[in-house]
Amino acid sequence: MHRLARAILSLYPTAWRERYRGEVEDLLRRRRLRPSDVADLLRGALDAQLHPQARPVLQLAVPASGPVPVSAMVTKPAFGMVESASLSLISRRSFLRRMLGAGVGLLSLEFLGGTVAFLWPGPAEGMGAEYSVGTLGEINARFPEWAHGTPMEFRPAQAFLVNVPAAKALALGEVADVTEPAADQLLALWRKCPHLGCMIPQVCESRSRFQCYCHSSTYNILGEKLERGPAQRGMDRFPVRIDEGVVIVDTRELISGPPKGVVTFRDSHPQDEGCS
């Protein structure tokens, strides 16, 4: 605010600045400036430029010793006035030229600002954003079953976060406790079925497989397409990484699921069965 106010002082006429700048700057330093003060200074600048009769006449009186009572001043004329030499004032032409320049400058600044604001990436939301799921500690605290293999539903990215070693153990009927999987042991499976786009529910308890409600397309716990159902590939997935301990799901990039028939992990159930 103070910097702005000082900048406005340079809009005053030269003569005005020579006469008043120091004291006004001193005044501004003491005052908690409000926006209305800045607007007032701006109006003052315009006034000083437009009303030459209001321009200062430098006249210094000899300082009186102590305050002078009003009654005394009524009778005693002011004394010791010193007229200064004529001050160089800004001409009408150069004032108009400066104002024109300022106007054009302001306009181009606005234009530039608008363009930059338009091109600036907005706050990303929905698909196409990066989501931080939390640290592994936070995930384990929020969803303890994750360490034992149950995929965690992560709604913002519409994905299941799969803890691969724990999930494999769960699907094989083993007991696992993996609280700190590495980044390459994480999968973020998009819940949208690659067949017709239905929402795929959480793995079923009976076989630990994903099965779409709509046409029973069935996937193992790693999202690989099994024999049952019409989908032609495994569940699509998002890149996952761990940044300084925080799990990040990047929905800007979608990786197609492996084609039907590519199954790297076999659980303990027959390959052609669904959940029921």
Binding site: A5, W16, E23, R31, S36, R55, M73
Partner: protein, 108 residues
């Protein structure tokens, strides 16, 4: 040299208040500002203050004293005191008339 503050337009009121503020002793800009804000209860912006000061000074109603440490005190001149007195007396008669009429008999 005009003793009439009426032709100062929107600076007439701030000018009057500034003259009142300077009527007991010389003050510098910041002191005038806080004093006027206290007197009138209305904020006085720095731009308005110095526009009014410049006008008052141009009319020789106030005068600048040598600056002390960047702060320049202003002192009311004899003409300024005269102008202030004229204004205040004018206002006072209006005030008195108004109050008298308010308190006077309601029948016309």
């Amino acid at each position: 040299m005009s003793g009439d503050l009426g032709d100062l337009g929107r600076f007439a009121e701030p000018s009057l208040l500034i003259l009142v503020s300077l009527s007991d002793k010389p003050r510098h800009g910041y002191a005038i500002m806080t004093d006027v804000e206290e007197l009138s209860g209305m904020p006085l912006g720095p731009g308005t203050l110095y526009a009014a000061l410049a006008r008052l000074e141009a009319r020789r109603l106030i005068e600048a004293l040598p600056a002390e440490d960047r702060r320049r005190p202003y002192r009311i001149t004899a003409a300024g005191a005269q102008a202030l007195r004229t204004q205040l007396v004018g206002i006072e008669s209006v005030v008195r008339a108004g109050l008298t009429r308010l308190d006077g008999p309601a029948d016309v």
